[in-house]
Subunit: 235 residues, 2 copies
């Protein structure tokens, strides 16, 4: 994909303000796309994420940044929407572990569905999401076969895919990268990871807890990349 051919094209980028989605936004920008950043407000735990997402969108020159409220808490079922405690451990999770309680039912499906809606309004075919099947938490909706199935469905769901014969693409540039490779890629593209936030359970002052799955995976990634994580941890 050449930079020049994308210059007049928009890309919708799902952003949590975390390490992965920020790297994805930098990659989309490096490919010449105009960036439309989309974040979600759900449950109560992640207000600090939204501040990070706003900072990242601004720093990476997004032409628009939208925050959509989604009402997941009323349906229950996850530690990330406020019904259970986020577990703390010292062991980095592995893909073969069972699905953890921080899994939010159908979360990426809901996120991608809103992205599809906004993409259709903007007449954009490229949707970027930072899912990763290597250093991840064992969620079913982070696997390549899930993404392919969503893309197929998306092309049958929309005016773009149906009337105009254009193709919606769910772009997952990180899907086969390790966390260390993602960090290297972002640093090569000039990403300031000090703007990002990854923790599932931050302290009241916004600092990362250092002990949830997300913190452990992030810290291990920086160690393996031989880089210093610019954020501060509570422990």
């Amino acid at each position: 994909m050449g930079v020049a051919e994308n210059e007049t094209k928009g890309a919708l980028v799902l952003s949590s303000g975390g390490l992965d989605s920020t790297t994805v936004m930098a990659i989309a920008g490096s490919q010449g796309f105009r960036i439309y950043s989309l974040s979600f407000r759900y449950g109560q735990r992640h207000a600090v994420e939204l501040d990070a997402a706003r900072r990242v969108a601004q720093a990476l020159g997004a032409v628009a940044h939208r925050v959509v409220d989604i009402d997941l808490a009323g349906l229950g079922g996850s530690a990330l929407t406020g019904h259970m405690d986020v577990p703390k451990t010292d062991r980095v999770p592995a893909p073969e572990d069972s699905i953890p309680v921080t899994y939010v039912p159908a979360r990426n499906t809901i996120f991608l569905s809103y992205a599809l809606a906004w993409a259709e309004v903007l007449d954009i075919c490229d949707i970027f999401i930072g899912v990763n099947s290597i250093d991840y938490s064992g969620y079913p909706d982070c696997r390549p076969e899930y993404i392919e199935a969503f893309e197929h469905m998306a092309n049958l769901a929309t005016r773009m895919g149906v009337e105009e014969g254009r193709q919606v693409r769910i772009r997952v540039p990180l899907i086969h990268m390790t966390k260390a490779q993602i960090i290297e890629k972002g640093i090569a593209l000039g990403v300031d990871y000090g703007l990002t936030h990854s923790c599932y359970d931050p302290a009241p002052d916004g600092r990362a807890c250092g002990r949830c799955d997300s913190c452990l995976i992030r810290k291990q990634g920086f160690v393996k990349a031989g880089r210093v994580d610019p954020i501060t941890y509570k422990e």
Copy 2:
């Protein structure tokens, strides 16, 4: 599918309070499922729909009825979310017409995604939706191939489909029925269509306008079924 084998099973039914979804709820009930009714609050036009959905869930003995707020208006793009006027005509729309302005981008995808989330929380595999490919308004996300693609994706997206080897089913009992057949089926199951609301643009007193696509399709359905529509129209 026998009634007895479903007696301990729940089914999630997407309900708009309209004619189709109410008939679907009656069908799910007649198959022995315990009914969980799910409705959505979006945009400003459809508050009267939600009253109908609540009445219908109660009348049909749903064990739960939830209303989820969805934030479509902020993304724009449809007459049904408040950004354009709903067109009025005297011609019943045909499937070969182009996609109308009342089309809400990715709406059924967003609806089904929330249904999938709640189904997973409830540990329910059966999701019913009243889409129809005969007497419909030409929306791409009402076609059988779209529903099949969503079902395939749903089984890759969720804990149910992935860990436990169970199958999520998107059940579309109306998909090949005409509006007149839907009405006959509902009447045979004892549905009181006086509880339902179909209009895209109701009067302040809640009466149906009688001239939007949805009213025209409904009125024609009752005429073809040789039945009297129990609701009153403004014109």
